[in-house]
Structures are given as C-alpha cells and as structure tokens.
Symmetry: D3
Subunit: 209 residues, 6 copies
C-alpha cells in the first residue's frame, strides 16, 4: 500500500526487455532505457537553453523519468501494433491511462494523488519539454538500433527502427535536433563505418525522405 | 522469402518471455510454452478418446502447435490489457489476424496459402479440439503459476493467474477436465503443501467460485 | 505421482541447452527445438499430402512432440559420442528406453501405460511419419547451425552440424525433401550470402558429397 | 567523439551489476538503480515541497541522474573497500573525479564543458537536493536488500546493507525522511512479515541504534 | 593447432552447465567446479600433510585441474546414465579416453605428447592424490546440492546428490575425510538449519547408511 | 565458521564477472579465469622444466589457484583504477591483504592459519613460480581480448587489454614466454585473420613496442 507500493512497482521495468522477439546481441530493459532518456533529455535541454530557450526543468524531470511507467501495466507493446490504427492507438492509450488512474486511486495517499496524476500523464506534447522528451525517446531508439547494426545484426527490424526514429527526430523543430543532425549523427555514422551493414546509406535515405 | 521465412520466424517465439515484468524464479519462453501445450493436449485428447470421444488429430496438431504463432507479430500482451474491454480484445484479435494474413500473403507460396490460413487461425472454439486447446493453454498457466507459488513467490500476479486458469478450466465440459480435477490437481496441490503460500486454500477458493 | 509428474517433467527440457560447450550467439533449449520440429513436420507433411501421400497425423503428432522426451533422463549427449560406435549408440538407446520404461511404470496410471509406451518410443523409422520426423529434426540442426554461421560464428562445430544435417536430409526419399532442396535451401543460402563465412561453398560441398 | 561518445558511454552502466559476488535472486544494473533513484528523489522532493521547502529541480535532476556516472570509469567498488579508510575513500574519489575530468576534456565540446563539469560532480552535499539524493540512493539500497531478505536470501551482506542504509537515512533531517519512517517503512516491513528472515527485528534494531 | 588449440579449448568448460534439466537457483559451470575442486584438494592435502602423509603436489595439481577436461568432448553426462551399468560406464570412459587421445595426437606438439597423456588421464585411483581428488569432487557435489537445499529447492535430485556424495566420501579412508565429518559437515548442517528442507535428517540418514 | 566458511566463499568468484561495463560477446567469471590460469601455468611450468628449470609445484599450485581469491573482498577493480598511481595501487593491495588477514583470523582454525596466510598471499614475485603466474594471468587476458576481437568486438578496451598483456608477457624472461611468442601467438594470430579487426597489426605493434 501507499508510496511503498509505487516505489516497489518501479522494479517491474527492469524485468521488461525492449523489442522482444528479434535477435539482438544485447538486451535493454525499460528501466535502463528510461534512465538514458532522462540523461539525453538533460543534454538536449542544455542545448536549448544555450540558444535562449526557457526550459521548465521540473516538468522535464517529471515527464522524462516516468514516460514509460505505464508499461508496468500494459507491457512493451510492439510499435507496429500500437500504431496499427489511430483507433487502436487511442484505445491502448485509454487502457494505459485507465490502469494508471486505477493504480493511483488504489495506492497513492490522498494528498499526493494530484501530483501523481500530473506526473504519470502522457508527457509528449507540443511544449519544449514534451518535444525534448520525444527527441530523447527516439534518440534511444536510434542508439539501440545503431549498436545492433554496427555489430552486424541483419534483423530488418533494426533498420526500420533506426530509419523511423531518424525520420521522426528530424521533423521536430528544436535547436537540439539541429545539433544532433550536425554533430552527433555524423560521429555515430562515422563510428558505424566498419560494420558489414551500410549505415551511411540507411542514414542518408532516412534524412532524404 | 517463402517457407524459409516462415521456418525462420519460429525462432522469435523463443525470444519472447511470458509474463514479463513480474519477478519469477524461472522464465518461460513462448516456444517452450507452445511445446508443453502440444504435449498436454495430446494426453488430454487421449483421455477424451478413452471415453469414446472422436478426436480430429490433424486439427488438434494444427491448432495447438500454432496457437501462439501470432505473438511473433503482436508480442505477449498482458492478459488484463487483452481483456480490458470486449472492444479492445476484438481489435487486438483483428490486428493479429491482419498481421498474420499479411505475412501469409507476402511470404507463403501460392499453393500453401490456404493451408496456412487454416492453420494459423484462432483455434479456440466449441469443438472438442478447440476446447482441448483451451484446457491445455490454461493448464500451462496453472503450472507456471503453481511452480512459482511452490517456490514461495509472493507476487500476487501468480495467485491471480493460478485462480483464473483453474476457474476457466473447471467450466469446460470435457472428460479430461474431470480427470484433471480428480487426479492431476490433487497431486499438484499435495506437492505444493510445503510452500509458504497456502496453495490448498487458493485452490479450494477457485474451485468453489 | 501420476500424470501430474509427467506434465511437470516437461519443464526439464526448457533447462537443457542444445550443443553445450561451443560458443554460440544464441542458445536453444530442447523444448524450443521440439516445438520447432513439431512445426516443421506439419508443413513437411502438408507437402507430402499435396503430392498424394497419406499421412497418419495422430502418429506424426505423437512422434514429433515427444521425440526428445528421453533427454529428460539422459540429457543432450553430444552427437560424436552418441555415434562413436554402433555398440555405444545401441547401449545409450537401451539406457534411454530403460529409463523411460521405468518412468512409465512408476508414474503413469495403469490405464494409460500402453498409450505412453507407444508415444514415448523412438519415432524415427521407415514410415512416412518416421522419415518426416527425421527430416524435421535435421532441418532444425541446419537452421541452428546456419543462423550461427550467418552471424559469423567460426566454431567448426557449426560447419560440421550444417554439413551433416544437409547430407542426411538429401538422402531421404520424400517429396518434402525435394521441396526443401529446390525452394527452402536456396532462400536460406541466399540470405546467408552476407556472412563472412562461405555458406554457399559449404552447402555445395555437402550437396555434392 | 563529442556528445555521441558521452551518449554511448551511458550503456556501460547497464552492464555493471550492483553488489557482485553475493548470491541474489535478482540482479540490478547500475542504470536501473540510477533510474529508480531519479524516481524516488522526485517523490521525496514533492514531499519536501509540500512542507514548504524550496527545491531546485534543475539541480536535483542533474545530480540524481548522473550520481553514479563515474562508475563507468571506476566500476562498482564494494562499500567495505570504499570506506576502508578516509584516506582510501578520498583517493578513490580523486581517481573518479580525475577520470571524469579527463573524459570531459577529451570528448565534450568546448561550449558544453562547464555544464558537464557541473553535472558530473559529486552531488551529495548539505543542500536539500544533495540530501534528497543521499536519501534516494540509500532508499534503493534498502529496497534491494529488503527484496532479497523477503525472498529468504540468507547472505549476511543484505542484512548489513539493509541496516546501514536505514541507519544512514534516519540520521538525515528532512521531512521526507520522517514520511518514510512513518509511512513507507511500516508498509515495507509489513509486507516482509512472511519471510523466513525476521525483518521486523532487523528493522527495529537499526532504528534503535 | 598446437598448444594454442589446447588453451582455447579450455573455454568450452565455462559453457557447460552442471546438472542440466533440473531447476536450480544458481547454475555452476564445469570450469568453476574444476577450480573449486583444485581449491578443496589443496586444503584436503594440507590436512593429510599435517598428519604426516606425503603428498605428491605435482601429481595432485595435474589430476585435479584436468579432472573434467574430457567433458569438452563428451559433455556432462548425467550420473544415472554414466553408472547405468558397468559396461556402459566402461564404454563411455573408453570414448572419453579415445577422444582425448585423438585430440592430443592431432594438436599437441610431439615433445609434449607424453606430458599431456599423463596429465589428461583419469586421476581417480587408490593413491593419496587420487583419493583426495575423489573427495574434492564429491565435496563440490555436496556443496552444490546443499546450497540448493538450503534455499528450499525441492527437486529430489539434490537430495539424492547430497546423499550419494556424502556416502561416497565417508567411505574413503583419509584423515581429511575425518576432518570433514568432524568439523566441516557440522558447520554446514548447522547453517542449513533455517531451510524448509530437513537437511539434518538427510545428513544423518546418509551417515548412518 | 571454519573451513566450511572458506569453502563456501569460493562460490563468490563465480558471481563476479571480469571486465564489467564493456560490451562483450561472452562473459567470464573470476572462477573460470582462475581455473584457466591454473591450467596455463601447468603447461608453462612443463615448458620450463623441459628446459632444465626446477619448479616448486606445491608453490605453483598454491599461488595460481588462489591468485584472485582476494576479489571475494575487494571485487574486480578495473585495471586503470588499480594502476592510477603507485600510491593507490599500494593502498588497494593493503586493503585486500587486510581483509584476507581478517577473514583468516576470524574463520580459519588456529592450526591452519599459517598455511592459509602463506597460500593467500600475493603470489607474483621474481621467483620462477611467481613469474609463471604473471605470464599465465596475462595470457588469459590475451585470450579474453583476442576472442572478442576475433568476433569483431570494436570496444577499444579489448585492443588495450590485448596490447598491454602482450607487452607485459614479452618482458618476462622465461623459456615458456619464448615458446609462447614463437609457437602459440602465431597460431592465435593466424586464427584471428578472418576478423574484421586487424589483429596482425595490433600484435606486431605490441611486439615492437
């Protein structure tokens, strides 16, 4: 009961492995992914601040750290399923929100319910913080896929993951996205040049699309 | 392409772990689960036959072995999510069927398409074979949960899994279900008597409900 | 005791890893292997049926699903050991049969003993079903080895496994073997062309031998 | 090079397991630990804020997320070693700071060096944020140990971990510590009452010391 | 080729897990087992020396470190299989010796062949060193089984392992065996008193048999 | 208490993985490493003996088998940390020696204390046995790194490990080192020629330095 139950539930995310089913040289838990998203977002926000953008750090902290908390209830549902149709995506989001709401009602003490309802809501929106979260989340998708491709993993799924994340990121209008495209991505692609998979080509196609 | 792609896809089910998120002393892959369901169903069908029931073994073979094949596309979605609402359950089933249909269209040679469409359809129905599959599937849920409870796993989820599977099974009108309740379940409960969890009580409550 | 003990014993096969000792990028349990053999055999039997051959599906179901059940007692003994001499092979088979017989005598209820004795016997023989099982079993050996070779695994053992399984399969006179050689194998080899190991050459040598 | 190298280095923490050497039913990576600390700290800070304390959320975000970043360079050194003597503790801290400084000098672009130097410094100090970090870090130590004890793990190390973390926490003067002692800890101890290990006794002894 | 091939082959034993098939809370590789046997034997030999017995340390070193080397070729064959009949045991030993001999002939340089033939022979005999090896090997069987029983593992196999190893050890006439029975075993049993399994009773029965 | 506690402590080394943090295709426990060092040292000592050098086999046995025993207390501290400064290295060695001494005082029976103090001391010195241990230890570092490089692992750490171990070995004046450089290393490098990483170049640079 109480905050104890919430704290203990966090462990579940270390037991959920991302991208299940496909062969990968290295697995990543949802906890580790969440932590990396928190870390990326911090640096991405620093870049925004350096360009004069105001960042609500408390909001960023809240939405990045809990952005996959709902997976405790609904698990890691494959992207092609989640996005099969607008209707299904919307329904799954409702289920997730419903289960989170139920959890809060049942376990979180009255005085903290409003805080938790705010913190465990969907964080991706059009605000600077929401967009930074989206970039950070997709960035980890790029890194997960890139690392597999660099090691020569031929599962098509990783090429698709890499592509789609890159396409999503470049569409977001933030300074940190420009920084990523101009500085981080080239360093990544350069490192991936020894792979048996043509990461340069995949990257260029994605950027051109 | 072709049957090769289908054969190779089977490996994915060894990489999907059932019941992700909760602590378990032992993990089970969807492949291992599928194989056990094939095995249970065989014995359950033998029991039906011994009572004079006719079993279509080819049908049983087909529907048991492929009963979770769709998880290659939609993954192992948590039961509380799948059954959140009739609407969502129906939609997820459509997604799964759609993805399977797409796979068959894309990869299975023309001459085998009808066979695959029949074999990869949802096998649980009111036929003897469909009911045996349902019992076998729930039986593995009982065994997975029982084994964790016997080892002292206090995750509530396993008590729920055990209960629900038992309730589902006892509602199915088959001779093998009677055999299970009269012979197999008592042996199981007896073995679980050394556990720190009161399996006898949980069992009796489920049978009484 | 009873069928419960038999059902529970099935779990052991998920804890036995095939081909222990050699480095592999991915491990496979005997359960997962058994399930894939059940799946391959189904498709191979469909191909036979499509050519007018009659298949006893109940027999096929029984012999494919339990074909490695004996490993619960004797483990996964390395092939070079099993085949060291006709004498040893025969002796190990006796041990396995003896242990299975003992298990049935001790745990299987009287009324099911005949069924279990039939189902847990060695399934590979000259019947269509027995030959399909042999092909399916060797086919998984090919896939296991191929997947490692494709990823660049240089352990000689996998080249030997791949070769030997291919040589065994092509010697079996079944329509599904022709289908495999004409359709499935070329797709597989084509997919393996990006590997640092010359799978084309290994395949051609095996087919020519 | 660059931020790419920093982003990639984050993966190392998923490969370092906490508390190596001792038997544990469940392992935890440093990444997962870091994410939980970020989560605990958020709630602990919410409690402080609810009591009228001002929290610098940006600072909290920075020091919690990176608090174990240095382990990428020095690994997870056992506590009894780290604290063997003030001299060694100080020296190891210097090594860690030196290696982090070297990493920043070598890889972080000039314009971000000041930010990284601030973010990757030791965060535990007498500020509210520093104290919250200390509580959150020790809280995860409590949870890790408690979960093992609850499952009946008899390794003395976990009793020591649990005790020491509890003693450290109760000495910190924060509202959230009172909340923990009055609400969260009792819920935890109550849950642990089914364990074969007397968690109640261990807890009371620690609180009394 | 050469000593390089021998050195590299040693890695295989880290990939072979002892006692496959049965559920265990913790797995042990053959390498780790071999190292523990080397360690136990050292202490057991110290005890013999302290009682005035002369120990050939070079011989002890050779036979303990390589005592399971043959498993690289024949794997870890289950004890009930190995000992099914004197005939089979003898045949498996021949296979192992044959494969080791073949390996030495093929890979070991001429000048070292005699040394390797001596070092990779079966070390268990009636000499002090051979008996110490037997005790050390059985001691690890006791420890492996004890640790599982202490954690509440109900697999009968571990009770059998524990019993049989204890019975074997007490029959060996060495001072270190007396020391074990009088000092080490009581400490072990005392530690196991918190287990849900009656280790005291199992121990006493074995000692009395 | 007693020897039992010492015997049981050996298990800890199977739970400590070498080189944590960096991606590796295959992990190695400290136990497995220790066993391989015992094995390498045996062959290296045989080579010395064949050149007329006298080897104290008891001493060799003692110092090789326990050479990493101290990691039970201090863990596997990363090399760049251990060697950060002479001062830190010396201090860590003191901590290790202190913890070992404390363990012996607390658990080892009086009559064996002198033996254990001798056996668990630092074995690397200028004696033949001490130098053989140093070579064997570095040899396993070479093999661990080589195996990763051969599989295409691009983590710089393995190139550094390989280089440094090679440089250390070639500086040691023993016959077995010459044998290694003239016979074993060429075989290893030849085997690594199919790797995407230029092992030949790395080897030559190290040998030339």
């Amino acid at each position: 009961m109480g905050i104890h139950t919430y704290f203990q539930s966090l462990n579940d995310l270390e037991r959920i492995i991302r991208c299940p089913g496909k062969f990968k040289f290295e697995e990543h838990s949802v906890s580790a992914h969440s932590w990396k998203v928190v870390q990326y977002a911090k640096t991405l926000a620093d870049i925004e601040e350096s360009k004069g953008v105001t960042v609500d750090w408390k909001k960023l902290y809240e939405i990045t750290s809990s952005h996959d908390y709902g997976e405790i209830f609904i698990g890691d549902i494959k992207t092609p399923v989640k996005h099969y149709s607008m209707e299904l995506r919307s329904m799954l989001q409702q289920v997730e929100e419903g289960m989170i709401a139920h959890f809060i009602d049942e376990h979180i003490p009255e005085e903290f319910k409003p805080i938790f309802r705010r913190q465990l809501r969907e964080g991706k929106d059009e605000s600077v913080e929401g967009l930074i979260l989206e970039v950070a989340d997709k960035l980890d998708q790029i890194y997960e896929a890139f690392t597999e491709l660099k090691r020569g993993n031929t599962e098509k799924e990783f090429i698709v993951m890499y592509r789609n994340a890159l396409i999503k990121i470049k569409a977001i209008k933030l300074h940190c996205v420009n920084y990523f495209l101009e500085n981080i991505l080239p360093d990544m692609v350069n490192e991936g040049s020894t792979s048996s998979i043509d990461i340069v080509q995949i990257t260029n196609e994605a950027l051109a699309s």
